[in-house]
């Protein structure tokens, strides 16, 4: 057993999640208090390039498992591959993604140890690592410690920890590890509809639309649509175009309330909130969103919140740093223009 801190580098087809480097940064910080090395763990078919990038971001060494069975991520072969490395570690840190939630869960079972997902803060208290994670949709926070089983497994929420700068001059050992990987019982058949644009959870700016996107009185729907529901959806799509334009000017991603998703204004992959995605951008702009508690659950940790709503009593204003009481169909396009002018050049 060593005091080293192990960090799993999550990637999609060889492309590392930004949160992977945030996790390396958080491990560096812990190592500076606890001593020990930061060891990155990279799994895949042919991923040696990632190993180098991990060192540039602050890892001292890398453990790498390369195997054709790891070409596509499936949690079972990845858990098999991770097991020998995880078994050596006392503290194993993952970034949080759909993949790592499965992987951390399975390694937890394999080594009969505890898993704390979605950690937003870390501290060292008397030589012990104390993690903080939200529970009850962020209404409460819970501190979590290991009762001594090894390793203590954590997944860190995206954007909760600073991303370290890469330094190409850093160097370190890259060690190949052998693992026994069972042939998986499931297989990735393919992908459809890859998400275009900026990923919601990694975005520094999120602009979201709610039920208010659908009621622009200035719009005249095309003559061939007569059904009321269809007219509403058509109007809402125009409304989301306003939201998208604003997001584009800011290099941000588009979010939505559940009401907008349920009304078929926009696909579910955009939903922010308790039953959607949790985002924590530097800037969150809520357009035509009331601010129901389940929506707040997905965005309350945003650094600066701007609300545009025609109802001055909408609860979203209680959380907002800046507010505009007005019609989003007037304000949002004007704001897009104002920002475009100021940000150009």
């Amino acid at each position: 057993m060593t005091e080293d801190i192990y960090v799993y580098i999550d990637h999609f087809k060889g492309e590392a999640l930004p949160a992977s480097w945030e996790a390396v940064g958080a491990a560096r910080q812990l190592a500076s208090e606890l001593g020990g090395k930061v060891i990155a763990v990279v799994l895949g078919e042919s991923v040696s390039e990632l190993a180098g990038t991990a060192i540039a971001h602050g890892a001292d060494e890398v453990r790498i498992v390369e195997d054709p069975l790891l070409a596509e991520f499936r949690p079972e072969p990845y858990a098999d591959a991770l097991k020998p490395v995880a078994a050596e570690s006392e503290l194993l840190i993952f970034p949080t993604s759909g993949r790592t939630r499965e992987l951390a869960a399975m390694v937890g079972v394999d080594l009969e140890t505890g898993v704390a997902p979605d950690v937003i803060a870390l501290e060292v208290d008397g030589g012990q690592v104390v993690a903080t994670r939200p529970i009850y949709a962020g209404k409460l926070l819970s501190k979590i410690v290991s009762k001594g089983k090894k390793p203590f497994i954590l997944t860190l929420r995206s954007r909760a920890f600073p991303k370290p700068e890469a330094d190409a001059s850093r160097s370190g050992d890259i060690v190949s590890v052998e693992a026994e990987i069972a042939a998986p019982k499931s297989e990735v058949k393919g992908y459809s509809e890859a998400e275009a644009g900026v990923s919601l959870t990694d975005a520094a700016v999120v602009v979201s639309g709610g039920r208010g996107v659908s009621n622009n009185p200035k719009l005249t729907p095309p003559a061939d649509i007569s059904d009321e529901k269809e007219i509403e959806i058509w109007k809402a799509r125009q409304g989301f175009e306003e939201v998208e334009e604003l997001a584009k000017v800011l290099g941000g991603a588009v979010g939505a309330s559940r009401a907008a998703v349920d009304a078929n204004y926009i696909p579910y992959s955009h939903q922010v909130g308790q039953t959607g995605k949790v985002v924590s951008p530097d800037l969150y702009i809520a357009c035509g969103i009331s601010g129901a508690i389940q929506h707040l659950a997905g965005m309350r940790t945003s650094k600066t919140i701007v609300a545009i709503n025609k109802d001055a009593d909408a609860p979203i204003f209680k959380l907002a740093r800046f507010g505009v009481v007005g019609d989003m169909h007037e304000i949002v396009p004007a704001l897009t223009e104002a920002l475009r002018e100021r940000l150009k050049g």
Binding site: G108, P117, D118, I135, A137, S142, Y268, K303, R342
Partner: protein, 260 residues
């Protein structure tokens, strides 16, 4: 097709949750079926309605945790079982997963086990994968659609919703499936369903019934649970005579405060 759905009882998501004497309290807010689990029950029922078979809802919880199971029965589940034993108090997901895996084993001859994406109280979202690992069955998480199901060939193909897009995965059965909200629109329990559920006998399985000794001790401890520091945001309302004037002022303030 034999399908198990794991359902948990959680406080209503609209509840005000506080900490009193170090313990979490949700006042007199009702305990309901974990909202994610309704989607899991619905999908299991749809598969049964199409391909035949039965749906068994199981829940691990204290003796009085029957609301979630009654809801599943009222929606149309054929059976419900409460797994409860003083030895199961205070488990973390490591323990919960070992108990639920034993529960699935006792139901026997199961083809599919459905889970919600996460429980809205602990927000962990790992129990499904852990149960899968214990059973040695493939885990299909974040499923937004069951594309096809071939009972005789023992395969299932699903669409999963990842950050990077939609992914198609095919798998052998038995398998564990956890669902996201997009998969369906859960039905409301019918009047008949509610009547049936209120009269149903819900058997209780104990540690001894499951042939389990002591499940794994919690690996984690929670030394402190607290309310997040109240951020006193004073909303600065931007006003003006025209949308352009308001937008210009707002843009200037965002730049001044270095928000962008």
């Amino acid at each position: 097709m034999k399908i198990v759905v794991c359902v948990k009882q959680t406080p209503d998501t609209a509840a005000t949750v506080t900490v009193e004497d170090g313990k979490v309290s949700w006042g007199d807010a009702p305990l309901v079926i974990n909202p994610w689990d309704e989607y899991a029950v619905e999908e299991a029922l749809r598969i049964k309605e199409q391909d035949g078979g039965s749906v068994v809802a199981i829940s691990l919880g204290p003796e009085d945790a029957r609301e979630a199971l009654k809801h599943a029965l009222a929606m149309g589940a054929d059976e419900a079982v409460l797994i409860s034993d003083p030895a199961f108090a205070g488990l973390d997901s490591l323990g919960v997963s070992s108990v639920l895996a034993a529960g699935v084993g006792k139901v026997a001859d199961v083809d599919l086990v459905f889970f919600g994406r996460a429980s809205v109280d602990s927000d962990t979202g790992i129990t499904g994968s852990q149960v899968a690992r214990r059973l040695g069955w493939p885990a299909l998480t974040l499923v937004s659609k069951v594309d096809s199901l071939d009972e005789s060939g023992g395969t299932i193909t699903v669409e999963r919703m990842l950050e990077e897009g939609r992914q198609q995965v095919s798998s052998s059965m038995p398998a564990v499936v956890s669902v996201v909200k997009e998969i369906n629109e859960p039905r409301y329990p019918s009047f008949m369903g509610i009547r049936k559920a209120s009269r149903a006998e819900i058997p209780v399985w104990t540690a001894a019934d499951l042939g389990l000794g002591q499940p794994p001790e919690p690996a984690l401890a929670w030394p402190e649970i607290f309310a997040p520091a109240k951020v006193e945001t004073q909303c600065e309302f931007i006003e003006g005579d025209t949308p352009e004037e308001i937008a210009g002022k707002l843009a200037d303030r965002l730049l001044e405060e270095k928000v962008i």
